[in-house]
């Protein structure tokens, strides 16, 4: 069918996530790919005809690995994209654990038998953890500290550790892990977009860490690049530039509410327990300490460079033109 001799077959878990959907759309347009398997519990919203085939697959089921292995063998999948991860923290912690940690185990069990040529995993820079001892730019080899009591972060961390072990045990498979900085944009919905959509935001009194985001289109492009290329290892996918947290709030026009740490933690516990906010108490550490990653390796080896600066990303998330607001002043020389 395809004019290319080596047309590839790609399987994507989490096809209904933002990144999964964007990847499907991009692969659909690319003649180098013969077939795309969209795996999720419900069909992706925008299913163009032809290349993409939806297969219902629930990673929380105990025997899903066998099912997946048969699928991979049947379609001769050569590239596996594992993106079935939650974008919001959830109160259903057991289910989240089954999906992210155990689900990754199922995926890896299936891949261990078939050994696809390439395995791409979607992860986040949150796995580095916000820590007072973090350097300003975390490189890929930095220790993954996770978070002491955040199940949202730790499930992803455990999944990533499994994938790293898989990479060691299966040298024939090109394993590529993408650690995305918090993704912002006009269409994506995740913990950060929900947090910044509220009119008020807590500020840890006397603390103002630098923050980093990546635009949703840049993130989708990075995932596409990762599927295309032969690069292996972990890559930080980050946007251009950093801004202090309070400046982010000012650009967004949110009202900062400075609170002493002690009060903020208790309040956050209450609000989380009563399900009034979408971010757990452990998230407050990311408002206290740095968690900024260095994207130089992705630029060097993956050929991905972000297109939009952090300010443009924030304004695009907000839906205002960059000229709007009295903010476009004093460009740094950097």
């Amino acid at each position: 069918m395809s004019p290319y001799r080596e047309a590839r077959v790609v399987a994507v878990t989490g096809a209904c996530t933002f990144l999964g959907g964007e990847l499907l759309r991009r692969l659909e347009e690319d003649p180098r790919y013969k077939k795309v398997l969209a795996l999720d519990i419900r069909p992706p919203a925008l299913t163009p005809g032809g290349k993409v085939e939806f297969v219902k697959l629930d990673l929380t089921q105990p025997t899903v690995d066998g099912e997946l292995a048969t699928l991979l063998a049947k379609y001769q999948v050569d590239t596996f994209v594992h993106g079935a991860f939650l974008s919001h923290p959830t109160h259903a912690a057991e289910w989240a654990h089954e999906l992210e940690d155990v689900g990754t185990m199922h995926v890896l069990n299936a891949c261990a038998g078939i050994e696809p040529k390439r395995f791409v995993m979607v992860s986040t820079t949150l796995v580095y953890g916000a820590h007072p001892k973090n350097p300003n730019f975390l490189i890929e080899e930095a220790e993954l500290r996770g978070h002491r009591d955040s199940r949202f972060v730790n499930d992803k961390l455990r999944a990533e550790k499994q994938v790293q072990r898989f990479a060691k045990e299966h040298p024939n498979v090109q394993v590529c892990i993408l650690r995305f900085a918090p993704i912002l944009g006009p269409t994506i919905s995740n913990m950060y977009t929900r947090f910044f959509s509220r009119p008020v935001a807590p500020v840890m009194m006397g603390h103002d860490p630098l923050m980093q985001f990546v635009h949703e289109q840049d993130a989708a492009y990075a995932l596409q690049k990762a599927v295309e290329s032969n690069a292996t290892g972990a890559f930080n996918i980050v946007g251009k530039g950093v801004l202090p947290y309070t400046t982010v709030l000012a650009l967004l026009g949110r009202v900062p509410v400075p609170m002493p740490q002690l009060i903020a933690r208790q309040l956050s516990k209450v609000l989380w327990a009563t399900q009034l906010v979408g971010s757990p108490p452990s998230f407050l550490d990311f408002l206290l300490y740095l968690c900024v990653a260095d994207g130089a390796k992705a630029r060097r080896e993956l050929g991905f460079a972000p297109r939009l600066s952090i300010k443009r990303t924030i304004l695009d998330f907000l839906g205002v033109a960059p000229e709007d607001g009295a903010t476009d002043v004093a460009r740094a020389q950097a």
């Binding site: 269409t187 959509s197 006397g206 839906g319 020389q333």
Partner: protein
């Protein structure tokens, strides 16, 4: 939309065309010389090549795609605050107000040019009026390229790093910005930490320092660190151990010359009579200093006393011929570190010998 009815009121309003006024030239006849011939020709060629039907098809497809995207878009919050807000005008004004005094672009390490400019007057006051700093040896600092300033450390708050920064920015012909490395206890101190970061301070971390030096910045380190700041009055101007020689390794790895800096006067600005470690750990600081003013006058006691300061920059020490491999040679690193420590100590003693009085030196000469 652009099709007006043939008998619109406009004709009545404007009356007949004035025969004396020549018609405005229509588009391609207009003088487009300012665009340059090639641009104009290319535009024309493109316009000719572009099939009318083709463009219309593209537009329709685009609209369809946009419609589908809009459908896919789901509201994040009951009221989509990203798109419309109650009291839009108030909100816009609030955004403008909130951005006052800060810039929307900071450098990679968090230095905010507007915030720096905003605090400039305070540093200038401290530098020229309060401490009456006399800086010498500024010619040893290169006009461009990397260098590592190594200085002694004293005082309960890092006034000395601020003065070293300001001396170079004020009196050096190239007006370079010094990036001081700030130890963790100060960097994570509420309020002071973020301010230090905005005006150029960076958390003291070997990775940060290496990155800064590789960007050809001027980096100031205070290898005594916490021990230097916690020196008691009786130990004044007696240099403490220089860490583990990390700054020497840094200079060897990046090939940056080391410039020794002696700061005299910081000890008298906040003479530490004693320190209380009890309860200090609970509020996240290593000790509570006791100075002639501090706990007694409340927060006002943290203001420095008006001592007379001297800052001297020594001749650069180039370790370039040792090579990056020497960074692994611990004995060599330690020897160089001690050598630089002794040099700074003798510079301090030299300055102390010249100074007549810790406070009135400016008047006594």
């Amino acid at each position: 939309m652009t099709d007006d009815p043939p008998n619109s009121d406009d004709d009545d309003w404007y009356g007949e065309a004035d025969p004396r006024v020549p018609d405005a030239p229509s588009w391609p006849d207009r003088d487009l010389g300012f665009l340059g011939d090639d641009v104009y020709l290319a535009e024309q060629a493109a316009a000719i090549a572009d099939d009318d039907d083709h463009t219309r098809f593209d537009e329709a497809e685009m609209r369809e795609l946009e419609r589908r995207l809009e459908q896919q878009r789901t509201p994040v919050f009951p009221i989509d605050l990203r798109k419309r807000l109650p009291l839009e005008g108030v909100w816009r004004r609030w955004r403008a107000l909130a951005m006052w005094g800060r810039s929307d672009v900071v450098d990679d390490f968090g230095r905010d040019p507007r915030a720096t400019a905003r605090w400039e007057w305070l540093f200038e006051f401290l530098y020229s009026r309060w401490f009456r700093v006399e800086a010498s040896g500024l010619e040893h600092i290169p006009a461009k390229g990397r260098a590592l300033l190594v200085a002694n450390h004293a005082g309960t708050l890092p006034y000395d790093s601020a003065m070293v920064m300001h001396a170079v920015r004020r009196d050096h012909p190239a007006r370079r910005d010094v990036r001081p490395l700030v130890e963790d206890t100060v960097f994570h101190l509420p309020f002071l930490g973020p301010v230090m970061n905005r005006i150029g301070g960076v958390r003291a971390d070997p990775e940060n320092a290496e990155r800064l030096l590789l960007k050809d910045e001027l980096v100031a380190v205070f290898p005594e660190g916490e021990k230097g700041m916690g020196k008691l009055w009786k130990d004044r101007y007696r240099l403490q151990r220089f860490g583990r020689g990390g700054f020497v390794k840094l200079a060897l790895r990046t090939g940056a010359p080391i410039i020794p800096v002696a700061v005299v006067g910081a000890e008298e600005a906040a003479p530490m009579l004693g320190k209380v470690t009890w309860f200090a750990k609970n509020i996240g600081i290593p000790w509570i200093p006791v100075t002639p003013t501090f706990p007694w006058l409340g927060p006002a006691g943290l203001l420095p006393l008006p001592s007379k300061w001297f800052v001297r920059f020594g001749a650069p020490i180039d370790l370039g011929n040792a090579g990056p491999a020497a960074a692994e040679d611990r004995l060599f690193v330690n020897r160089i570190a001690d050598q630089i420590r002794n040099q700074i100590q003798s510079m301090i003693e030299d300055l102390l010998g010249k100074r007549r009085s810790p406070v009135l030196s400016a008047f006594l000469g």
